[in-house]
């Protein structure tokens, strides 16, 4: 009996969802992806926070040494720094994509314009993100 209660409950859930028939027919509402976005926003925030503490202090050291071409190349070339810089670009740019997405979703209500803005800014961040990572690799290798 005890085992059957769970089965009954799940069937009841299937029969009476919280959405009305009209809402289900329209198919709007939750995109079922809010939690992933929320978690990704915070994970990239934690990663950015840790990496930025390093990046800012390391940059301060670089400014202390001098920002001539040779010093900057040497700074980026170190394998650990190059790795951390690539991780920093991934974490911060990804965080920026997620944040920019929320801003657009909040303020742009024209559906076509919204999708165009969302796609173009996502592609833009991917493009400049790859350009940054490629540049770091080119300098370091």
């Amino acid at each position: 009996m005890g085992l059957c209660v769970g089965a009954d409950m799940s069937m009841k859930w299937e029969k009476t969802p919280f959405k009305s028939d009209l809402a289900r027919a329209r198919g709007l509402g939750s995109a079922q992806s809010g939690t992933e976005h929320w978690i990704a926003q915070r994970l990239t925030a934690i990663a950015s926070l840790i990496l930025l503490v390093w990046a800012v202090s390391s940059l301060v050291c670089l400014i202390g040494t001098g920002t001539d071409y040779g010093s900057v190349v040497e700074w980026i070339t170190h394998p650990v720094r190059a790795t951390l810089l690539i991780l920093l670009v991934v974490a911060t740019f990804y965080h920026a994509v997620l944040g920019a997405q929320v801003v657009v979703e909040d303020y742009i209500h024209n559906e076509a314009l919204k999708i165009a803005k969302l796609w173009s800014q996502k592609l833009f961040f991917i493009a400049i993100g790859f350009a940054s990572i490629f540049s770091i690799l080119k300098i370091a290798l």
């Binding site: 920026a96 944040g99 540049s135």
Partner: protein, 132 residues
């Protein structure tokens, strides 16, 4: 027509300009504004890496811009935005974990964020400009 008149009489949800600005709301708006500024700042980050990768001449062009008063102003603004967004982001983490919800504590944490932002930004640029 009658229904329209009825709707006209219904109370409106207060618009933003009616509210008296409070530290909590203003700081929330600034979290988003600094986020947008920082997202745009990624262009300068990319320019830096590309310039170094392309060689000494293109790096010199970047460096000339970075040390120019306009470049310095932009970098100063971005660093302030970065530190604000970082420290206020930590404040947001406390809220996510269920702390600092008492009005008094939300305000205190806000004041700490502002204070630390000013101190860290000030210390960074005092160092860069050779003041300390």
């Amino acid at each position: 027509m009658a229904s329209t008149k009825q709707e006209d009489k219904r109370p409106l949800s207060p618009h933003l300009q009616i509210y008296k600005p409070q530290m909590t709301t203003v700081m929330s708006i600034f979290h988003r504004l600094t986020g947008i500024a920082l997202a745009l700042g990624t262009i300068m980050v990319t320019w830096f890496f590309l310039a170094v990768a392309m060689g000494p001449e293109s790096y010199a062009t970047f460096r000339d811009f970075a040390v120019h008063p306009i470049g310095q102003f932009m970098l100063f603004g971005w660093s302030a935005a970065l530190f604000y967004h970082m420290f206020n982001g930590i404040r947001h983490f406390f809220w996510d974990m269920g702390y600092l919800f008492k009005i008094k504590n939300a305000y205190r944490a806000g004041a700490v964020v502002l204070l630390v932002t000013v101190i860290v930004t000030g210390a960074l640029w005092a160092y860069v400009w050779g003041l300390i």
